[in-house]
């Protein structure tokens, strides 16, 4: 056996600790020696973070027990995201982790729904989605394993305290022999001949060498952007928001099994319910509102008492042209930023970590592995990007400059064609890799007012009355089954009550 590959992770936080947990959880100590450098002085934002169902694959892969993780991060369940005021003021729709109905007459359910709608006979599309109906009634239970059952047609994710999650992973990694070093990185040393990263130098003067450096230093990209000067692809022309304010509030009555995103005049506000408090924030464009006005707007729009002053965050949407450059891999915010509108940040970190595990290099690092890594990661970023842009492009708000600007902006060709084909006939192409399958696109299209004027002609192979009957039966079956579910609050209390929440909410046993 050769000497283990020495991997240095620069930065803690979610990205750093997920990278560490992936490497330590899957590989053996004689294969990799992982060291993580972070500084307690560099705080984390510490608000709630929303995830996607894929997170469960990550936890399973490295062997994390769900209920334990949820207890220790004050986590709650998530069935989707509610979008308020996005399509137009007063509107509300849910992007669910699950399907809308089942194929009928050889075509996707939504073609029949469109047909029924054009005949004036369809209910809200959300009524045919189990996850949406459960969300609307604040219910939660695990999906059934019997794939024919109506309550098997959804998936779930978590809301948790990202700071606690990082701490949880840290304990998990340290118990498995990972070395954590406290300290600030003062200098990145490059090998003068190869140009690779040779070492980082800490404030203490300690020099840490390694074979592979994982840059989890956040927005600034200490190694990838700093020392290696890797170019950044700027997507501000499509995603104009560049700032955020985050503020936690006390837990409120409204204990939703979903994230809420409310469109405001110059951006949107998030709301993420945790067991012990609620995470809130305002993502906005500094071109359309001042920081002071944004603070006033956010603080006036909370449903619980704030627990601290709002914390400002600045960002730029886009990604590194090459996340893996030489012997440095940028993971998390160092590799790119997409606003948390669809809770993709931890997912993109997860993709980077799992792809790295798939392509783990040996010494000397073969640049072909980097090329393949970048192809996979870029594809994921680009597809999320188009999906996010759709939320801005497809709006009918007339109340502010930001929304007018977004409605009129040019969008990438890939998205333009997708919108046109959906509007014409409800067609949604399925791609092989990358987030957001047709049900996700469907919910946002319909929710934001892109309603198909036609449908797949094969839908007509079933007579309309038979279709309407089937749709109504489904709606009733979903509604009845959802009524038999426990409330989200009860379910969380019984399954994974955290240490802090009961005290904080001042209720319960």
């Amino acid at each position: 056996m050769n000497k283990p590959l020495e991997i240095v992770i620069v930065g803690g936080g979610t990205a750093g600790w997920m990278s560490a947990a992936g490497l330590v959880g899957v590989l053996k100590p004689d294969q990799v020696k992982v060291r993580l450098v972070e500084s307690d002085d560099i705080g984390t934002v510490g608000v709630g973070e929303a995830t996607l169902p894929q997170m469960r694959e990550f936890n399973d892969r490295i062997g994390i027990v769900e209920s334990d993780m949820m207890r220790k991060t004050n986590a709650t369940f998530k069935l989707g995201i509610e979008f308020r005021d996005w399509g137009f003021k007063g509107s509300s729709y849910v992007h669910p982790f699950g399907a809308h109905g089942r194929p009928l007459g050889g075509v996707g359910f939504h073609h029949q729904w469109t047909r029924a709608r054009l005949a004036g006979r369809a209910a809200d599309i959300g009524d045919y989605s189990y996850a949406i109906t459960a969300s609307r009634r604040n219910r939660f239970d695990f999906p059934a394993t019997d794939k024919t059952a109506v309550n098997s047609t959804y998936d779930y994710a978590y809301h948790f305290d990202a700071g606690l999650y990082a701490r949880y992973l840290r304990g998990w990694c340290e118990a498995r022999g990972l070395t954590r070093t406290e300290g600030k990185v003062m200098e990145v040393r490059l090998d003068p001949t190869s140009g690779d990263v040779a070492a980082i130098v800490l404030e203490s003067g300690e020099v840490i060498t390694g074979d592979l450096f994982i840059d989890c230093s956040g927005f600034r990209g200490l190694i990838i952007g700093g020392a290696l000067n890797g170019p950044f692809e700027d997507w501000t022309r499509w995603l104009p928001c560049d700032r955020a304010l985050a503020v936690p509030t006390e837990r409120s009555e409204d204990f939703t099994p979903y994230t809420r995103s409310t469109a405001l005049e110059a951006g949107w506000q998030w709301r993420i319910p945790l067991q012990h408090r609620t995470g809130n924030g305002y993502v906005y464009s500094s071109s359309f509102i001042s920081d002071d006005e944004a603070i006033t707007r956010l603080m006036g729009n909370l449903d619980g008492a704030p627990l601290m002053d709002p914390k400002p965050i600045r960002f730029k949407s886009g990604r590194r042209t090459a996340s893996w450059t030489r012997n440095c891999i940028a993971v998390g915010l160092a590799s790119g930023f997409l606003e948390p509108l669809e809770s993709t940040s931890i997912y993109l970190t997860q993709v980077a970590v799992l792809t790295l595990l798939d392509l783990l290099p040996r010494r000397p690092i073969d640049p072909v592995l980097a090329e393949e890594f970048n192809r996979v990661v870029d594809n994921e970023y680009d597809r999320v990007r188009d999906f996010l842009i759709l939320h801005y492009k497809a709006n009918n708000r007339t109340d502010s400059e930001l929304w007018r600007h977004c409605r009129e902006m040019e969008v990438p060709d890939t998205l333009r064609e997708k919108m046109a084909l959906f509007g014409h006939r409800g067609h949604i192409a399925q791609y092989k890799d990358g987030l957001f399958s047709p049900p996700s696109w469907l919910s946002v299209f319909v929710g934001q007012g892109v309603l198909p004027t036609g449908y797949h002609p094969m839908a007509d192979s079933l007579p309309l009355p038979a279709v309407l009957e089937e749709m109504e039966a489904l709606r009733t079956r979903i509604s009845d089954r959802v009524d038999a579910m426990p409330s989200h609050a009860d379910f969380v209390r019984d399954y994974c009550a955290g240490e802090a929440p009961l005290k904080a909410m001042g209720a319960g046993a």
């Binding site: 590989l27 067609h427 797949h456 002609p457």
Partner: protein
Amino acid sequence: MSPPMRPRVEQVLVVGRDAAVWLSALALHKALARTGVKVRVVEMPSLLTPADVYSAVPSLGALHSLLGLEEAAVLEATRGLPVLGQRFANWSKSKAPFVHGYDTHRITLNDIDFLQFWVKARGEGMKVELDDFSLAVAAAKQGKSAVSRDGDRAELPLSSGYHLDARAYVDLLRRTALQAGIEGRGADVGSVQRDGDRIVSVTLTDGMTVQADLFIDASGPAAVLASGAPDAPFESWRQWFSADRILVAEAPRLKPLPAFSQIAAFPAGWVGLYPLKDRTALVAVYDSRTMSDQAVLDALPVLTGLPLTGEAAVEDFHPGARPPWTGNCIAIGPAAVSLEPLDAIQLHLIHTGLSNLIALFPAEAEALPEAEAYNRAMASHLANIRDFLITHYALNKRFDEPVWDRARDMMLPEKLQARLRVFAARGRVPLYDDESFQQQNWAQILIGHGLIPASYDPMVDTVPVEEQMGKVRGLLSRIAEEVQLMPVLDTEFGAG
């Protein structure tokens, strides 16, 4: 309340010949007849000779299921055989032949691709070939069949491709279509009436003029409708495929029947040997500047070890593709794309065109925004298939023969270069959108042609060596047992 419906596509005219015309008509009829769409056929004179064969990858079975064609009935009517793969011989002068087997899954141990264990073991001196770990290959080598004469099949992770007598297959399709109520008319196309990029009507040589909302061009390489479309140029792929001739011939049936096709390279190209129940079809694809038609014909008995019977036929061949959908006309199969039948993809190309067309069948007759999406999806499908074919040429090891030396040196499409680079580095095949061939297919031909990954996935080392060896032994004995239980092809389908 509801807005008035815009006019729908009600009349579809399918113009063409051979498998493409009848598969198109049947598939569209099956999907849309109940919605009021009427499919009519103009069948042009066949280009097939008695020697012709359709060799098909397993996806044809899925198409037949959709069309309501029973596997046993198809095999019976076409004197056809189910086969488990293709054996590639003489693509290297020094290396033994290999079989690309039709396994449906890649094999994994502890969720790690088995190939990775093989690469490691090979580096440590193991001599067992990768294809010995393929159920389909093992079964093919022992002359087995996944399906019995009656159409029964065991639940095994492999599937059958097919060899079908081409004329008998077209006859079967025609019969099935006419029985389904599709109107057909035998004629040639005299002229095409256009309005801008749309076709208004087609006038046949018998004087009849037929109008339709949508036209399907299944006429073969001549593309009688599609080639006249403005702004839809044919893109040549000659830089990757030097063969310009396809020759078909016949030989006596083999005894016992082999359960695979054989694809043997020779100085000017390759010759395929496709066993049928009552004969063996031979197809030679070659560069006529290197060997004349007559020279190839003379060489065939030597190359195949079989005497020729019946008449041979030769046709010109030009590889390439055109945008299949322009205006209200969609080209299907060889009218849209010409690729040599190297990986048994002729019928699959038709199938792919049809399944994409059904997914995007126009929602209305006048505005057809589907065309752009269809053309992009098809271009992506076709490029992936094309690259699979190119791979055989690019990795050949027939040194000091001009056709083959050029093939090794040619500039490859960029995505294929990336695939080969990543595989050579780590035994992983990057897969893109719209793939016909999966990880296990790519890995089999890449390894078969001698592209051995330089390193394996370190994840392999997380599995203890004894466990690895135990699992590998278990895999080999399971394959042996499963093959043992499969019926013998010759017993099931041999003419006695």
